[in-house]
Amino acid sequence: MSLRPHGVQYDTGQMIQARNITFRYPASSFRLAIDELAVAPAEKLAIVGPSGSGKTTLLNLMAGILIPDHGEISIAGTPASSLNDRDRRNLRASKIGMVFQQFELLDYLTVIENIRLPFRINPSTQDPQHKNENDSANELLESVGLASFANRYPAQLSRGEQQRVAICRALITQPQLILADEPTGNLDPGNKRNIMELLFRETESRNQTLIVVTHDQSLLNDFDRVIDFETFLQTDQPAQSKSRSS
């Protein structure tokens, strides 16, 4: 699988780079248009905005799940739009870790099996450190304080614990980019803080880029940059993004 395009020059210094992209769902009046968006490596970016403003759509474009109708979006220096389905899938499996609001753990797998799931469903995904997959998963579980929960099923865990397992699943392939869609949306305030601290700690320790879609204003202070999606789309981009110096 070649993740690097031939004959197309991108700013390889950016983790995400989008130029002049538009996207419209079939049979929908909603249209997402972004002139330019760049996310630097290891940047911690929050995307906020009202429901229906297109935050999750942008996240899916960044993940290569959706393809823009026009324009180009590159992920880790690879133009996602020009890749075929398989290469986009492999790019997603190897370079991107995803965390969801509903955790989306498979109820019929144990905690450790859920964490190792990316290795099972995509043969191109391999442990970068060439360790035993169980070792990597156990290390992650230990780092999130769930070492003794390895053989439990998701239904036996609290919501906060389930989200921690979901984060481990996103981290197991050591991706360069973590995309989290409302990761604290289903958690109580105490767990929200813990999960965000965990995400920051783990991504910082691995020098990973973190992009989080959230509604929760109380979580924004720790991010390097916050994009208010409503104003971002209504005004010239990217000037309206609220930046926070790191």
Binding site: A63, D85, A93, Y108, E113, L117, P118, R120, I121, N122
Partner: protein, 391 residues
């Protein structure tokens, strides 16, 4: 593929109830027609083999099916019997080896079959333990009778009383078990064989009692002249034939008139068989000639006409089960949309997601298939036992 199979296996293991219900649906739908097919095929073979080994059968006029089933399987006797003289007549023609069968009584619910020693030769019956019939009152039992009643040579076996309320009825006879037959897998395993004369004794045509010529007890003798003593009811007949009393056993009348329920005629050629058949062709004859193989094949054709109805029924049930399975899979796919979407988002191909569900179905079908194969093998292996127990 390994990962997909792992996930599919974990899914079916986790959802045990759903999986077991699906497996049971497939298993029950498939095993019934398979078992019926195996059993019918074996039953057909067994029927045809025994019928083909009996070229002809002669009995009183009536249902040819009843006569055939009685002669081959010792089923309930025909309402009419035929005289033993017919056996002698057939033997005199030299067209066949006539083997009489008289089966009107039971012992411990097993049929008592009065016959001649020729029967054992014609049916290739071999003694497993003990010896063959040698004396009046002896019996040779099939292996299932021996196992069921735990009999061994030297034991005795009492014939069943016809009607327990009929105190003036025929006395049961205590028979001596002379031998036990080898397993044959035929109705012979479930029969008690006695000499024809012993069967007539049970039926009251012959009996033994104490010597009355010198009897002084007037209560036992009604009248007496030079040649004949008329005994009263106070003289009890013997209910067991022993070395001491065997000489007192005698038959009243000519054995030509004694009954047999069927004659198995073992002819050497089709020509002899046809000639013999011609002797019973007249409308004034009280007897009938049947070819068991024809009667049995007619019975089988009726059986298979009924089986076609079951086959159609099984096909409909199979189609219903298939549709039900498709419905379950579609509903399951709908319920698992979110799960499949997650798998896609984290790097699983759309095709792989479909393969995952196909693999789950394949596991269920494979397990059901293994169970069906095992059950079919068991039915095939135990078919003879099942048929013996069932029929």
């Amino acid at each position: 593929m390994k990962g997909i199979l792992f996930l599919a296996w974990r899914y079916v293991c986790f959802h045990k109830t759903k999986t077991l219900i699906l497996i049971a649906c497939i298993f029950l739908t498939a095993i019934l027609p398979i078992a019926i097919r195996v059993l019918l095929s074996r039953f057909e073979n067994s029927l045809v083999q025994r019928a083909d080994a009996t070229p002809a059968m002669i009995g009183a006029k009536g249902s040819s099916l009843d006569l055939t089933l009685h002669g081959l399987y010792f089923d309930r006797p025909p309402t009419q019997t035929l005289p033993y003289a017919e056996v002698k007549r057939i033997r005199a023609t030299g067209l066949a080896d006539p083997v009489p069968v008289y089966s009107a009584f039971q012992a411990a619910s097993f049929p008592i079959v009065g016959t001649s020693l020729n029967y054992f030769d014609q049916r290739h019956l071999r003694i497993q333990t003990g010896q063959s019939l040698t004396t009046l009152g002896d019996c040779v039992v099939g292996i299932e009778v021996a196992n069921s009643l735990q009999l061994k040579p030297g034991d005795s076996l009492l014939s069943d009383r016809e009607n327990i309320l009929d105190i003036a009825g025929k006395y049961p006879l205590k028979m001596n078990v002379a031998g036990i037959l080898q397993t044959t897998g035929t109705p012979d395993d479930k029969a008690v064989f006695v000499d024809l004369k012993t069967a007539w004794v049970i039926d009251g045509y012959g009996h033994g009692h104490q010597e009355l010529q010198n009897e002084t007890d007037e209560a036992k003798v009604i009248s007496r002249d030079n040649n004949q003593v008329v005994a009263s009811a106070a003289v009890l007949p013997y209910t067991e034939i022993t070395e001491q009393n065997i000489d007192s056993f005698h038959f009243h009348g000519s054995d030509d008139d004694f009954p047999v329920s069927a004659i198995l005629a073992f002819t050497d050629s089709e020509k002899d068989n046809t000639i013999l058949e011609g002797q019973y062709g007249g409308s004034d004859s009280d007897l009938q000639f049947v070819r068991p193989s024809l009667v049995v094949r007619e019975l089988i054709s009726v059986m298979f006409r009924i089986k076609r109805f079951f086959d159609a029924n099984a096909t409909l049930i199979g189609v219903s089960t298939l549709l039900l399975l498709i419905l379950v899979m579609l509903l399951s796919a709908k319920l698992r949309t979110s799960e499949m979407e997650t798998l896609f988002k984290i790097g699983c191909g759309r095709g792989t997601v479909i393969w995952l569900q196909a693999a789950e179905l394949m596991i269920v079908v494979a397990v059901a298939g293994c169970l069906i194969a095992t059950a079919a093998w068991a039915v095939n292996f135990y078919a003879d036992d099942l048929l013996r127990w069932w029929i």
